[in-house]
Amino acid sequence: MKRILLLMFLCCCTAAITFATNRSALPDTLTIEPSAAPVAIDLRPYIGSLEDATGNLSIDAVPQLPFYTNNQLFHAAPRNNSKPNNCWLKINIKNPGNTNASWLLFTGWHDFMYWYQQAPGKMPGLLMQTGLMLDRGGVERWNNYGFVADIPPHDTRTFYLHIINKSFNENPFVPTLYNSAAFVTFQSTQVEGYRRESVVILVLLGMLLVILGISLINYIQLPDRSYLYFAIYVLGLILFFALRLESKPYQLSFFHRWPMLKYYWDIPGLLFCFYLMYLLFGNAFLNLKERYPFMERIFTWVAAVVGGLIIICIYLIAMEQYHLPTIIYGYVYFGTLVPLLAIFIALARRSQHHPLVKFFLFGSVCLYLACLGSFLIHVRPLGLVGALGELSAPTVLLIGGILLQAFFVLAGLSYRNKLVHMERTRTQEMLIKQLNKNKELQRKLNEQLEELVKEQTTEILRKKQELEEQRKIQLETEYVKKLTEIELKAIRAQINPHFIFNCLNSIQLFVMQRDFEFAQKYLSDFSYLIRKTLDFSRRNFISLADEITYLNTYLGLERMRFENRMEYEVVVDPEIATAELEIPAMLLQPYVENAVKHGMTNPKQVLGKLSIRFTQIESDMLECIVEDNGIGITRARELRSLPKHHQSSGMEISQNRADLLNKMYNTEIQIEIIDKALEQECNSGTMIRILIPQL
C-alpha cells in the first residue's frame, strides 16, 4: 500500500512539474502538403495535450480549453503510469496544397480511443472510435488504430484524440502522422514483428492443446485426480495464452468479441494456473496426503489463499482497478520466491523415497527459473516498476519454461501411470498369491480341523478308556482295601489258638485237681480275654485303656501258666489320657506274646521279666516298648532248628500287620526290634519299640 501511495505521490509530483513546465508552450499548427512519397512525421512538437484528471470532460467542452505541448506524456517503450491515463490530444493540420490531403495518425495501442474532427467554426464531430477494451471487431480492427485525417485543399482542420488507458500499463505512446504509403510500410513492419511473436505463442498453444488432449484422454481412461488438475491447469494456460494473443496487435483469437476477457484472465489466470492448480495438482500427483502430510497442509492452505486472491482480483478488475491485481501478483510472486525454494528443497530431500517428486521438481524448477528469468529480462529495459507490470507478459523464456515443465509433468504422469500399473500388477499378483495362499490355508485348515477332530475323537475315546480304567482301578483299590481289612481281621482272629488251648488245658488241670476257685478265676479271666478278642477283632482301633486291661489280663493268664516264673509290669506315662487315646487293635499282642514265649527261655534268668511301657514322646507320637530279658531275638532265631520252609515268624506277621495298617490308614507305624545283647554284652533280651502316630 505504501508503495502505491509512493507511486501516486511520484505521479502527482511529475504531473505537477509537467504542468508547470509546459504550460506556456502552445502547440503549433502543422502545415504540410500532401505528398505521394512516404512521409512519417513525429507529431510530438505539434500536438497539444490536455489531461482530464476527473474524466468529466466532453468533446463539447474540450475545444474551449487550452492545450499544451507535453513531451512527458509520450514514450516509445511500454510504461507503467502508476495511474489511469485520461488525456486529450489536439492537433491542427493545414493543407496548403491544391489537392485533398489524407493523413493517418497513429499513437499506439490504447484501451479507449475516440477520434474527433473539427472544421473551422464548427463543432467537433466523432469520426472514429476504437481501443483494446472497446473494439470487438475481428482482425480488421487492428487497422482502426490509424486515424484518418482528411483535409480539403487550402484548408485547416483541428483533430482531437481522446485516449483513456485504464490499466496502468501503457503501450508505447508516440503520435506519428503517416501518409497512406508510409502507413502501409509502417503497418507491414508492425505486423511482421507481432506475428513473429504470435507464432511462438501459437506453437505453444498447439502443444498445450496436445498436452490437454493427452491429459483428458488419460483422465478418461484412468480417472486419476492429478490428470484432471493438470488438464485444468493446461486449459487455464491455453486460455491465458490465447488471450495474450488478443492483447497483441494484428492477432486474432476466438475471444475478440469479448475484449475485456483478456484483462480478467490476466493476473487471475496466472494465479489460477501457476499457484492454485499447480498446488492442487502437486497434492494429487505426489499423493502428499499420505506421503508428506505436512506439505499437503501447506499446499492446501496456500491454494485456498490463492483462490481467495483470484476472487479479489476478479472483483478489482470488475471495479476497473486494473493495477491492483498486478500489485497483488507482484507481492505473491516475490513473496513466494523463497518459500518455493524451501519447498523444492524439502521435496528434493524426499525424492529418494518418492520417484515422482523428481519429475514434479524438475518441472517446477524449470518454470520457476523461466519466470524469474523473464522478469529479469524485463527489468533492464523497463526498470523494476515497468518489469513488474510485465510479470504476466509471456516471453520466449517463460514459454520455454512452461513447455519444459509441461513435458516433465507429462513424463511424471506417465511414470505415475507406470507405477500405478506396476502397483496394480503387483497387487494383482499379490492378490493371486494371497488367493493361492488362502486356498492353501483353507486346505491346511481343513486338514488341521480333520486332524483335530480325529485327535479329539481319539482323545475322547482315550478319556473314556481312562475313565473306565480309573473306575476299574478304584474298584480294585476298594476291593484291595476291603480285602486287606478282611485279611487283617483274619490275622487277628488266628492270633493265639495255642494260648487258648493251653489255657483250656490249664483250666482242665485245675478242675481235675479240684482247685475249683482257681479254675473259676482262670475261666473268668479267659472268658474276658476271649470276649475282648472277639470284640476287638470287629474294630480297627481301641482305646489305650482297653489295650492295657487286655494286656494285663493276658499277662496274668500267662503268668499262671508259667507258674510265676514270670514277672511283668505295664507302665503308662501318667500324662497319657488312656481312655481317649486310640491305638490299632491287637497290634501289641503278638509282640507281647513273643516276649512271653522268648522271655521264658533264658537259662541264665530264672525269672522272666517283661515290661511294657507307654510314653508320649511327642504331641502326636505314642511310643510303646515291649521288653523282655530272654535270650534275645538273634539267638532265638539261631536256636530254631526247623527247616527253612517251615519257619514262620510271628514278627513277620506283626510287621505285615503294621504295613497293612499303614496302607489302610495312610499312617506311619514304625516297629523297631532291638536285641539288647548286641548293645550290651551283660544284658540280654529283646526290646520292641513301636511308634504309633496319633491320627
Binding site: 483250666i507 481235675m512 526247623l642
Partner: protein, 251 residues
C-alpha cells in the same frame, strides 16, 4: 508196664497228662518229666522209655529235634501233644504217628496210648518215625511218604508221587501205584479222602481219587481221564470243568 517220659515246657500240661495217665492208663509208668528239649533228650537217654509224650514246640527246640537226636539209640513210640497244630499235622498223620490235642480228653488219650502200646507189644518196627523225619525234611509234598497198612496189618511206605489213584472198594481204599501194583488198604476210603485233602489229589467221581500230576489228558469225548500209565478213569460230568482248572493250575 510201659515206661513213659513226658516232655513239655508247661507244668500244667505235664501235670494233666501225668494226672490223666495215672487215672486212665495205670499200665503206663511215668519214668520222668522234662521241661525242655535238652532235658527231654537227657531223660530219654537216661530212662530208655518205650513211650514219650512230646510237646511239639518248646523254647529250645521242637519235638522233631528230640526225635532226630534219639532215633538211632533209643527206640520208642512217640505221642505228640500240642494245643494247636496246623503246619505239621499232615505229615504226622501221613506217618501214622499219634497226636493228641490239648485240652486232652480221655478218649483220644486212651486211643493214642492203646495204639502205641499195641505197637510196643507187637514190637513193630519204628520206621514211621523215619518216615516222619524224611517228610519233615522234604521240600515238596509229592516227595512225602505215606504209611499204608494193608489188610494183613502190614505197613507199606508209599511215596505220594507213586500213587496214581485210589478207589473205593467195599468201604475200603484200594491204591493203584505207578509201578502197576495194587494196594488194598486197611483204612477206609473216607479216611484217606480226608487224609489226602489239601494234597494234589482230585476226586473224579464218588469212588475214585486221582493224583493230579498222574493225569495225561482228557479223552476226546471228555468223559474219561487218561492217565500217564495209559489207564482210563471215568469222570463225572459236573467235575470236568473243575478238574481242568486244577490241572491248569498244576502245569
Amino acid at each position: 508196664m510201659v515206661k513213659a517220659v513226658i516232655i513239655d515246657d508247661e507244668r500244667n500240661s505235664r501235670d494233666i497228662i501225668a494226672l490223666m495217665l495215672e487215672k486212665y492208663c495205670p499200665f503206663v509208668e511215668i519214668a520222668a518229666m522234662a521241661t525242655d528239649s535238652t532235658d527231654g533228650i537227657a531223660k530219654i537217654r537216661e530212662h530208655q522209655p518205650q513211650l514219650v509224650f512230646l510237646d511239639l514246640e518248646m523254647p529250645d527246640g521242637t519235638g522233631f529235634d528230640i526225635l532226630t537226636a534219639t532215633q538211632g539209640e533209643v527206640s520208642f513210640e512217640a505221642i505228640f501233644v500240642t494245643a494247636f497244630e496246623k503246619k505239621f499235622l499232615q505229615i504226622i498223620r501221613l506217618s501214622e504217628v499219634e497226636l493228641i490235642l490239648k485240652p486232652v480228653d480221655k478218649e483220644s488219650l486212651l486211643h493214642a496210648v492203646n495204639t502205641v502200646v499195641r505197637r510196643v507189644e507187637d514190637k513193630q518196627a519204628t520206621q514211621r518215625y523215619q518216615v516222619l523225619m524224611e517228610n519233615f525234611n522234604s521240600q515238596q509234598n509229592h516227595q512225602w511218604q505215606v504209611i499204608i497198612a494193608d489188610n494183613n496189618s502190614r505197613e507199606w511206605v508209599v511215596l505220594l508221587g507213586d500213587i496214581e489213584y485210589f478207589e473205593l472198594a467195599d468201604d475200603k481204599a484200594v491204591f493203584y501205584l505207578r509201578t502197576g501194583d495194587t494196594l488194598s488198604a486197611a483204612g477206609t476210603f473216607r479216611y484217606y479222602l480226608e487224609l489226602f485233602s489239601g494234597l494234589k489229589f482230585y476226586q473224579l467221581n464218588n469212588s475214585q481219587i486221582v493224583r493230579l500230576s498222574a493225569v495225561a489228558r482228557l479223552s476226546g469225548d471228555g468223559t474219561r481221564v487218561i492217565l500217564q500209565s495209559g489207564r482210563t478213569l471215568e469222570i463225572s460230568e459236573r467235575r470236568k470243568k473243575d478238574l481242568l482248572t486244577r490241572l491248569q493250575g498244576e502245569h
